[in-house]
């Protein structure tokens, strides 16, 4: 096992363990801060798929924008939870059992499907020239977003403006919603 695989599986384990801790932790503030760890290590996994620009975007948008927004919303809506930082008493509920069952069966279906498929034998993967370590992916992303994917790019910009106006309209003070 070389260094690349070692680092990859370390970050993969970090993603899964921290995600599990986020969903099982009783203390909500800690679970939101652990969400940082998950997103950072996911960005590391994107680097291993040779998508360095996506990794940087992940760090900028999620860690810089989404998480700060979530912390804001959390602290504005859960004052009584912030006062009592002691963990709430752990109670086992029946609906959690059903949720766990659904998730595990879904995971079983997905993993058994992935294990059965022979990806290296697929035609389009065999014929494709994969992205190599030295390639300039940022250059390619810039070229593609202005030529082949121009329409999705522009639709996305209009959508972002709509979301911005909508969020500002929803969050403003006043009786009318």
């Amino acid at each position: 096992m070389n260094a690349e695989q070692l680092i990859f599986y370390f970050f993969a384990a970090l993603v899964l363990i921290s995600a599990l801790m986020v969903v099982t932790m009783q203390n909500l503030v800690r679970s939101i801060f652990l969400f940082f760890v998950t997103l950072f290590s996911l960005a590391a996994l994107y680097v291993f798929a040779l998508a360095d620009f996506i990794a940087v975007t992940q760090v900028v948008i999620y860690v810089g924008g989404v998480l700060v927004l979530m912390l804001f919303a959390f602290m504005l809506s859960n004052k009584e939870l912030l006062n009592s930082l002691e963990p709430i008493k752990r109670t086992f509920k029946l609906n959690h059992l059903a949720g766990i069952f659904i998730c595990l069966s879904f995971l079983f279906i997905l993993v058994s499907l992935i294990v059965q498929i022979d990806f290296s034998g697929l035609d389009w993967i065999k014929s494709a020239a994969p992205i190599l370590e030295g390639d300039n992916t940022i250059h390619a992303i810039g070229m593609h977003s202005m030529t082949r994917y121009l329409l999705p790019f522009e639709v996305l910009s209009v959508f972002l403006m709509m979301a911005l106006i909508g969020a500002a309209h929803l969050a403003r003070k006043g009786k009318k919603i």
Binding site: F8, L16, Y46, S77, P130, P152, A168
Partner: protein, 101 residues
């Protein structure tokens, strides 16, 4: 070089963790975090397959689009959560059962 199936298994696990959060949590922000996990699992799949799509660059471009869409969705969802909290004084989705007061 990491095989493709390992990426897919990691993203399948992440998707199921997000599904668990969506199904069982009693707090709207935690449900939102679960949805974020599921979106990130999809982005990981996009990126892993995008490695074999060099000439079109579809995987990486649409991973980028999905991240931006998720960010816009979170902004709107948090604005809605704050409004719901102002109105109902709780963000437990099972207690919010009226469309109009």
């Amino acid at each position: 070089m990491i095989p493709l199936s390992h990426f897919l298994i990691i993203s399948a696990c992440l998707f199921c963790i997000g599904l668990y959060a969506v199904l069982t949590k009693k707090n709207a922000i935690q449900i939102l975090i679960g949805i974020e996990f599921m979106i990130n699992a999809a982005v990981l799949n996009f990126v892993a397959f995008g490695r074999y799509d060099k000439e079109n660059g579809g995987g990486q471009l649409f991973a980028l689009f999905a991240i931006v869409l998720a960010a816009a969705g979170v902004a709107v969802a948090l604005a809605i959560i704050l409004n719901v909290y102002k109105h109902f004084k709780t963000i437990d989705p099972s207690k919010i059962d009226k469309l109009k007061d």
